[in-house]
Symmetry: C2
Subunit: 148 residues, 2 copies
Amino acid sequence: MTDPKSTDARLTDPTSQAAGFDRMRQARQTEIAEDYVELIADLIAEEGEARAVDLAARFGVSHATVNKTLARLQREDLVQTRPYRSIFLTEAGAAMAEGARRRHQIVLEFLTVIGVPAETAAIDAEGIEHHVSEETLAVFERIARQGL
Amino acid sequence: MTDPKSTDARLTDPTSQAAGFDRMRQARQTEIAEDYVELIADLIAEEGEARAVDLAARFGVSHATVNKTLARLQREDLVQTRPYRSIFLTEAGAAMAEGARRRHQIVLEFLTVIGVPAETAAIDAEGIEHHVSEETLAVFERIARQGL
DNA sequence: TGCAAAAGTTAGCATAGGCTAATAAATGCG
DNA sequence: CGCATTTATTAGCCTATGCTAACTTTTGCA
């Protein structure tokens, strides 16, 4: 029970495994930030401005929640808000939005190219885009361009 | 500024978009549960038992955090714990672990087959596995088996 | 112009997942 | 055997993300 089974199939060493889970926790923290700046960028691009009420409707949460999250994003210098005014992205926020949009796009095209139905691809891309490294993204991009 | 730009590239209708984000929030909630039951199953399979201290080391969090999370998982009938005893999976927990393991395996093989380096594939699979629908997983599996 | 509707803010509450510190139980070894 | 180490539990605190409810500011229209 206590003897070390050394090299086995599923378990890597605890330290590197912990590093991986730490990355995951970090990713979880930035997911919402990315979703917000991405949506804000889209709203500005297409509606002319981003308002909390639109974010609330599109995220499907209350406007109070949006407000609180925007406060966090402002603290982190990703958005710029002024009371009763519409929402703007900072330079950092715009950069994050652009990166998120690019990843989203590549993942979506990739899934579509390999044969995932459009609707499912759209849903899954939403989840996957936050967890794809640049290295994997490069592979996705090549396949999306060249096909299988 | 107020005129509706109707059908455009990036923004789908608010309602279905909200549904998508709702799915994401649900997924976020089950991610940690899946990670726990998956690791518990692995520890039981390979070390003979799962103890909170091992989970803490592998997740890279304090054992107090592990304890609190285990309490939640027990409430949700995924694990069975007794004070100062090792941790077991319920039937539901074992089923979740098996599903997570299967998805993890398929995603990992898929990434490797399409050309993602092993180390990166291992890292990314960790994040992606929680966000892949059965439909996409089926596509991944076919490619993993047949190659590109 | 004035008032109602829409939008934004704020307060207070809940849950989840982090932490440290203090305490308690189990284990194991000299 | 008894005490030290290891392991587990508990309490108290924090942040993030949800909520509802109450309140304020803006906006737009009759």
